[in-house]
Symmetry: C2
Subunit: 234 residues, 2 copies
Amino acid sequence: MTNPTEPTGYRAIKAEVLTRMRNGVWSPGMSLPGEVDLAEEFATTRTTVNRALRELAEEGYLERKRKAGTKVLKMPRRQARFAIPQIQQEIEDTGADYRYARVSRTEEDAPGWLSSKLSLPQTARVIHVRAMHYANGQPHQFEDRWIVTASVPEAAAETFVDQGPSAWLVDTVPLTTAEISFSATRVTSEVAEFLEVAPGDPAFLFERTTWLDADAVTYVRLYHREGYRMTTRY
Amino acid sequence: MTNPTEPTGYRAIKAEVLTRMRNGVWSPGMSLPGEVDLAEEFATTRTTVNRALRELAEEGYLERKRKAGTKVLKMPRRQARFAIPQIQQEIEDTGADYRYARVSRTEEDAPGWLSSKLSLPQTARVIHVRAMHYANGQPHQFEDRWIVTASVPEAAAETFVDQGPSAWLVDTVPLTTAEISFSATRVTSEVAEFLEVAPGDPAFLFERTTWLDADAVTYVRLYHREGYRMTTRY
DNA sequence: TAGTGGTCTAGACCACCCC
DNA sequence: GGGTGGTCTAGACCACTAA
């Protein structure tokens, strides 16, 4: 008897292809047989083989080109997938208590570095919000955010006292594209006070720039205390 | 005239569905029509509609359940995808010169914390390799790695003088699963010397534990100087 | 220019799971 | 129980690109 959850169909083919790669039947750089041949071997149709190979290519194991065929990648271009963290949920998932506090909200002309970063017109107005997120009363994240008023006019009416700008933006402008980056930085003395650490201490910085089509919507810096980790499997 | 690269087929359907979500035709929490209805509306087959919706669900926009149908997610579970960096390529892609230098290589009993982390037997032996990666002669990354000898016996014959353990492992044990995590840390005085920064300075730490089926293969800590960034779009 | 993957059609059976 | 998505079949035309 085999495993009761033994896959069949395109899943079985994916598994078999991976097995053959592990066993060296198809080693890095080598070409696999064409879809038609594989379909015959696995006693199925080309459609099913196609789905299996397409997904393996998407996952970074194979390279597929018309006419050239399907090849095993020499260096698998594996990729990790991170769920974009939703701060409140992230904290409550750990069983901790979440609390939000707005620090400040001002409306101002976009500073030069921001206009430049977001390709804003010279005269752009932005809403600058600073806020703290606590887990069980402990400082967890300091949020420093700029919202482009022209892209999200509804923001003018928002105080962000009760709801954090992240959650509000997800509800208001849900379908955006973004660029995110992670880095390590030193906290400034101001941020240090809010995170309750010493100035100059390391912080994990998460930055995100969000666009709605071609218009910049918001730029945010999220500072986390040393010890914060982003983790994923792949 | 429309855009010359106007998508057709399942891509067109994906785009149209996203457009309708943006326009509020299908707002968060709402159910979409069934695949059969959509196929009729778009004058295509259910297969094509299925692929469009399946991909949108994979990308985190929709939730699909048998019998329940397809719903627009209230909070899109969008996910970012990071290419797993290959240090040499990453550096050379910037036009910089890459240089590798092994710092040390020892064979030892696995320390307790490592055995625990990797679920190793009491008596496990590991190879401990430390190495530096330079970009244009500047310190770029300090690598602190443990390789489980039992999982990769070939490593016993490797000096890692000419080739870094990362590259060697990718060639030798290409099909692994891994857990990675990012964090900010303080460099110890020893790491500080190699990175040519001051002890206690912030560093960006990338950790990865790698498994081949159920056996731990390697655990590595990669330290980067302040200023290093991991970036992606989604 | 010919071979390969990319995609679509039209139809079918089935597993899951909400009602 | 029945409606919905998950998947497969068998076949076709087409786009791309390596040879």
